[in-house]
Symmetry: C2
Subunit: 371 residues, 2 copies
């Protein structure tokens, strides 16, 4: 394993087995478990990078599919890479576009070689193969790249799930063969839909390939949350202890806690940012819809005790006014809060793990319907 | 005159007679000539207050008409006033809503008592009178309030212009009678459309009322810019030397310079912020439309030498990408730049006045088609 990307498990919670870790990358260290805000198009929506940095976020996710189409990975490379282009000097992870292209591709467009898909922007045709995706991700230059995988829907039948999983494994090999950037870690992705035996087979197969880290893909794509938790429980014994485990596209407050309980180290989710732009704020007492009349004359902050810029300086009444008046600042302020909320939640989770009381802490948190 | 609002003319440029001044307010001093960014709905669009502060803006304008309708002046008052509500601790000026309601009112809705208008939000009927507007502005609690005036269009005939001007003078008296806040300065507004004799009469009449400052209203409302400059030249000898002069709603880069040349001390304009959200940036070499293909691979900042956050950290290529991808951050970054551009322009203008070389400086600036 590349020394650039050393992962240390610092402590294992005695109550639950949840892991406290640290992942080293060329752009800095990441304390795990970690929540990664999403900057799909090389920007966390409604935020400046310095606002994002202030939330305490230690790594961002950006989307290969979107950046490939616009502005194009060659332009980003020409700009000096994604960090420089978007002015974010901490770690970045890029997904592989697998999730996006499979939802855009038509039946018959998926071959052993790769996936033919149409751009959601202009309808133009494009081909993603493991090799081409590696070229794109290496041009973008994130600290962590994900293998190109076949992401079957949550409703896929067993036959298709097997086919997609096997292909994902072959593609993982192809990705590994062409990936050369020493300053970028390539993570494999465990697939297998909602079938325990397939998930276990996938975890074992990928573990044998010795990637520096592992995504767990194809969950939270239509199946009930309980199924997702079952899959996490099933693969847990087969995931290498000394590698970070990243549950892809999952990160509502309850899922963050349930994931950590099941040994997950990394999460990403657009809920925090998307919900914010719809006026929805996260709190430890549950979510609140700031658009509601209830908050019209409420001069308290979004969440009492929160240290984010929004909570320190603005009232619910003001933010509600901004929402009603369709002012951009409402999205900015709630996004700041929702990211900070998630970053603080993860910091508290890490503290609880360090003190061997994460089981109690998780139970207490989950007593409230967080989302 | 209230000591809270002392205005000092510090220097008069020997080349042009342009004025360097300082206006004291309860929320701080304002060096003049000054450009005021606009925060219509208690927010400068796409900006946090700290981002606005960083541009060096020393005073904001906010709109009485909009705040009266939403969230309502009583709510703002309950929140502790506009400064606290929007978290802006420097000076604020509120207009009187005159400009807005006249463009919304129908013929027959304007009476000696006031103006009946329909809300642009829900069509509900409202009456603005000098007395009701003073109640609204005092509840909002800006440092500077404007008198309720009748703002005739640039195309108004002489007969109507006389009527509107006379009414504006009677309303100014009524405003003065009911305005009581000692921590708020009430400015009169010179009207008279594009008729020199009326403008002069208005300037004289209002000067006699001894307001602590004067707006010059009803310009840049459809008439050619040359007409506006003629009016400013005409009234100049009749405007009290020891009071600030505020050219309302005007502030494109060329107008800022032409206004200062004619003795104006204060300006406000939405161009900087509105243009930014359309991808248009101001520079000393003229405006640039960052959406254009020309900038796709341009890795230089919006304006070489600019010290704003956008120019210090992002390229034209990145900002163009954000525009094409319809990302909010494009508006934020260009707004930062356009406000900083205008604030720096005014600082350079003040320096040139202090050094008796503003005539040369203005000529040099105006050689370029700035806007």
């Amino acid at each position: 394993m590349n020394e650039n990307f050393k992962f240390e498990v610092l402590h294992v919670d005695k109550q639950t087995g949840a892991r406290l870790g640290r992942l080293h990358t060329p752009h800095g260290d990441i304390d795990t478990p970690v929540y990664m805000p999403v900057g799909t198009q090389a920007t966390v929506k409604a935020m400046t990078p310095r606002d994002v940095e202030e939330t305490g976020a230690s790594i961002l996710l950006s989307n290969t599919y979107h950046l490939y189409l616009r502005p194009g990975h060659r332009l980003v490379e020409q700009a000096g890479g994604l960090h420089k282009f978007m002015h974010w000097n901490k770690p970045i992870l890029t997904d592989s576009g697998g999730f996006q292209v499979f939802s855009l591709a038509k039946k018959g467009d998926i071959h052993e070689d790769g996936v033919l898909f149409r751009s959601h922007i202009d309808g133009s045709k494009h081909l993603f193969t493991p090799e081409s995706v590696m070229a794109v991700e290496q041009a973008l230059g994130a600290d962590i790249a994900m293998c190109f995988d076949e992401c079957a829907p949550g409703t896929a039948d067993y036959r298709y799930a097997v086919k997609a999983m096997d292909r994902t494994h072959r593609w993982a090999e192809r990705c590994r063969e062409v990936h050369t950037r020493p300053d970028q870690a390539l993570f494999g992705i465990v697939q297998g839909c909602v079938y325990e035996d397939l998930r276990i087979e996938s975890a074992k197969t990928l573990a044998a390939m010795d990637f520096p880290g592992y995504g767990i893909g194809g969950l939270s794509v239509g199946e009930p949350k309980e199924k997702m938790y079952e899959m996490l429980d099933a693969i847990r014994p087969y995931m290498p202890e000394n590698k970070p485990r990243y549950l892809m596209g999952v990160g509502s407050p309850d899922c963050l806690i349930e994931g950590v309980l099941r040994g997950v180290d990394m999460f990403d989710c657009v809920l925090q940012t998307r919900a914010a732009r719809n006026g929805l704020a996260l709190t430890r007492k549950g979510r609140i819809m700031l658009r509601n009349q209830t908050y019209a004359e409420d001069f308290s902050p979004i969440e009492e005790g929160c240290d984010c810029y929004a909570c320190q300086n603005f009232s619910r009444a003001y933010i509600r006014h901004l929402i009603k008046a369709e002012e951009i600042l409402s999205g900015t302020l709630i996004t700041m809060h929702n990211i900070r909320f998630s970053v603080r939640l993860m910091a508290d989770i890490r503290r609880a793990i360090a003190e061997d009381r994460f089981g109690d802490f998780a139970r207490e948190l989950l007593e409230v319907k967080l989302f």
